[in-house]
């Protein structure tokens, strides 16, 4: 620490004031707050765990998971290292990384982008097309595709970010729709239209092909998730990240401080787009192909649901939301295909056969009952407990 004044208790980064600070911030909108003064400091000393400990443990756990033969009945069909389970987990992890990249825009800068699917799809389609048309190996196609997707994000971001708010939402949505139409129209019979493209197995390293190598696919997806989340978390703690959070809180005020918000927003848009196109490549490899589903507006809306479900603008929220959503999406389909399901009355069967219906309604319910998402739950429970405790002695 090069600031002599800052005490040893000051947290290493700006993101987590709760770790060492003795001062808890007063509640934000205390509609039903006690009448007199802000509530006193509830400076409960938390356990002193280094900031990196939890993420590091998560990474180790992720890496070791394919070695486990632990059966998790009810949750997964087979043991943890069965190909089916690993494939599902790999998909979850790709979406975890993708949702985190979307949260960089939605949660951290407060930018309402409805076109994130475009950059994800760009990564996947560019890579698949480079392999199909130019017969480039995956190792060459992947960086080119990511570069292409990032460049596209830079260009379209430069145009879109000239406006803000709802207009930004509209223009990003429209750009993504143009991309979606392009893919479905199948110009020059290149994109495969509704059918999509499949991965050319001979251009992919052998280690990433076949059921026996599912663990490698899993590790690839895990690496992507760790990279995306790590990049977003790191950037959040830098001076640039601080400007981003400043923009979310009050963009005009940032401008009055002498910083032009535009390049900072464009930087975030480009980084998020780049991470999304990297995710697109990972998705292409993990699922062995790509279909136009990932280009649609619904797909971006799905990302929004994942982020809001987990908790926008938080460290773990997007990851948790994406994993939970993707897992439920797959498992609900399995349930619908199971034997007992046939015996249900048709009126129950029809809605339950559609995971998107269940997830959509679940999401609506969540917006009512758990605003702030899963990540906000511990704090909400804590606040409720504290409120109950405070009710004892009257406030002075």
């Amino acid at each position: 620490m090069d600031t002599p004044q800052s005490t040893a208790a000051a947290p290493a980064g700006g993101a987590a004031p709760a770790v060492g600070g003795a001062e808890e911030a007063a509640p934000r909108t205390p509609a039903g707050a006690p009448a007199d003064g802000p509530p006193g400091a509830e400076g409960t000393r938390r356990r002193r765990i280094p900031r990196w400990a939890v993420p590091a443990a998560a990474v180790v756990l992720l890496a070791l998971l394919p070695f486990s033969t632990l059966p998790v009945p009810g949750v997964f069909e087979g043991p943890l290292n069965s190909p089916a389970t690993l494939q599902l987990l790999a998909t979850c992890l790709v979406f975890a990384g993708l949702a985190t990249s979307y949260d960089l825009l939605y949660g951290r800068l407060g930018l309402l982008s409805f076109g994130h699917a475009l950059y994800f799809a760009s990564g996947a389609y560019f890579a698949a097309l480079l392999m199909e048309l130019l017969r480039l190996p995956l190792a060459a196609a992947a960086p080119l595709a990511v570069a292409g997707g990032t460049l596209l994000a830079l260009l379209l971001g430069a145009v879109s970010l000239r406006v803000s708010g709802i207009a930004l939402a509209m223009v990003t949505l429209a750009f993504a729709q143009a991309g979606s139409i392009l893919v479905v129209r199948d110009p020059g019979r290149a994109t495969g239209g509704e059918e999509g493209l499949s991965l050319e197995a001979d251009l992919v390293p052998d280690a990433l092909v076949g059921v026996f190598n599912t663990a490698n696919l899993y590790w690839l997806a895990a690496a992507y998730a760790v990279l995306a989340a790590g990049a977003v978390w790191w950037l959040d703690s830098t001076p640039t990240g601080r400007v981003w959070r400043g923009i979310r809180a009050n963009e005009r005020r940032v401008a009055v401080l002498g910083l032009n918000p535009y390049p900072y927003k464009l930087a975030a848009f480009t980084v998020a787009g780049g991470l999304a196109s990297l995710g697109g490549v990972a998705y292409l490899v993990v699922s062995g192909g790509v279909t136009p589903v990932v280009t649609t507006a619904e797909f971006t809306l799905t990302l929004l649901v994942m982020v809001a479900l987990g908790g926008a603008g938080t460290r773990w929220g997007p990851v948790l939301g994406a994993v939970l959503y993707t897992y439920l999406d797959h498992r609900l389909l399995d349930v619908a295909a199971s034997d007992g399901f046939e015996r249900l009355p048709a009126a129950v069967q029809a809605p339950l056969s559609q995971p998107l219906f269940i997830l959509g309604m679940l999401f609506v319910a969540m917006v009512y009952f758990f605003p702030g998402g899963l990540a906000a739950l511990p704090a909400r429970i804590g606040a409720a407990v504290a409120r109950r405790r405070r009710r004892g002695p009257p406030p002075d």
């Binding site: 709802i166 223009v171 750009f175 929004l304 809605p351 559609q354 998107l356 917006v367 009512y368």
Partner: protein, 298 residues
């Protein structure tokens, strides 16, 4: 020449559909600041309800006047859906625009999924009544009757909306509410009633578009609403939320650009041309929707 006339007629028909969807969106957004993603769901409800009525309800069957019954049933179902959504989903989140948007996003995913769960993902053939069959000769071109029907309905809706907004007390409340909701309540008026009404009107127009869209496309599918919705969004951005006439003009302009570009260049380029126009409009015009809403959301 006849090609141009045909394209104009088709463009007007599509523009009529866009108008039916966008007018409600624009009213809802202008008054309530809710970017209603569930609007596409009302369209789906309207389309499927009209189809269902034509198959199952005796008064709505047949090729003649029964069709009107089917459309009326579809519109009623969509209106009821919109009414319930506002009452049960939007109103409890009053003043929390971001959560309201999230709820409509959830509904926009759930409703088409439900429809797909019940009637399947495949397109269903929509009944075509006698009055919408065949063509009419206009300036040497054989214009399909259904296009003219759409235009006539949209024109009637435009007239009705203008009357509502300009002549009725609720129209007055809506126009005032678009400017300053808090002041409307401070005058002793329960502005939430106007919200529900506007949502129901928007739902009615959208479900009418759903029922008539079945006529235009010949089929109904669960996802028809979403793709039409995106172009309706574009119409709202270009036309602004200030006037219904502006919305009508923007609807026609977007549809025309799409039709002509699609015909005279490569199919699909028209859709992309519309996006390019949208980008150009947003970047050149600082006003209307762009500035007004910049501070409201996010």
């Amino acid at each position: 020449m006849s090609t141009v006339v045909l394209l104009l007629a088709t463009g007007l028909g599509l523009g009529a559909l866009y108008f039916l969807i966008a007018s409600g969106l624009s009213l809802i957004f202008g008054l309530m600041d809710v970017l209603n993603f569930a609007h596409g769901a009302f369209l789906t409800v309207g389309g499927y309800a009209a189809w269902w009525a034509s198959v199952h309800l005796p008064f709505a069957a047949g090729g003649g006047w029964g069709f009107l019954g089917a459309v009326a049933f579809g519109t009623a179902a969509g209106t009821a859906a919109a009414f319930l959504v506002e009452l049960l989903a939007i109103r409890p989140l009053y003043g929390r625009h971001r959560e309201q948007i999230l709820v409509t996003v959830g509904l926009s995913l759930a409703v088409p999924a439900l429809v797909q769960g019940i009637w399947g993902a495949d397109p269903l053939t929509f009944p075509r009544p006698d009055i919408a069959r065949g063509t009419v000769g206009v300036l040497g071109a054989a214009v399909p009757r259904d296009r003219l029907l759409l235009v006539a309905v949209a024109a009637a809706v435009l007239g009705g909306l203008l009357l509502f907004v300009r002549r009725t007390r609720y129209g007055l409340i809506v126009r005032a509410g678009v400017e300053d909701r808090a002041m409307v309540t401070a005058l002793g008026i329960d502005v939430r009633k106007a919200f529900t009404l506007v949502f129901a009107i928007g739902g009615a127009a959208a479900s009418l578009a759903g029922a008539l869209g079945g006529l235009y496309f010949g089929v109904v599918t669960p996802t028809q609403g979403v793709s039409l919705l995106i172009f309706a969004f574009i119409v709202v951005v270009i036309g602004g939320t200030a006037s219904i006439t502006g919305c009508a003009l923007a609807s026609v302009a977007v549809a025309m650009i799409q039709q002509f570009a699609n015909y005279y260049t490569v199919a699909g380029l028209g859709d992309i041309a519309v996006v390019a126009v949208l980008a150009a409009v947003l970047l050149t015009r600082q006003g209307g929707l762009t500035t007004r809403t910049a501070e409201r959301v996010a």
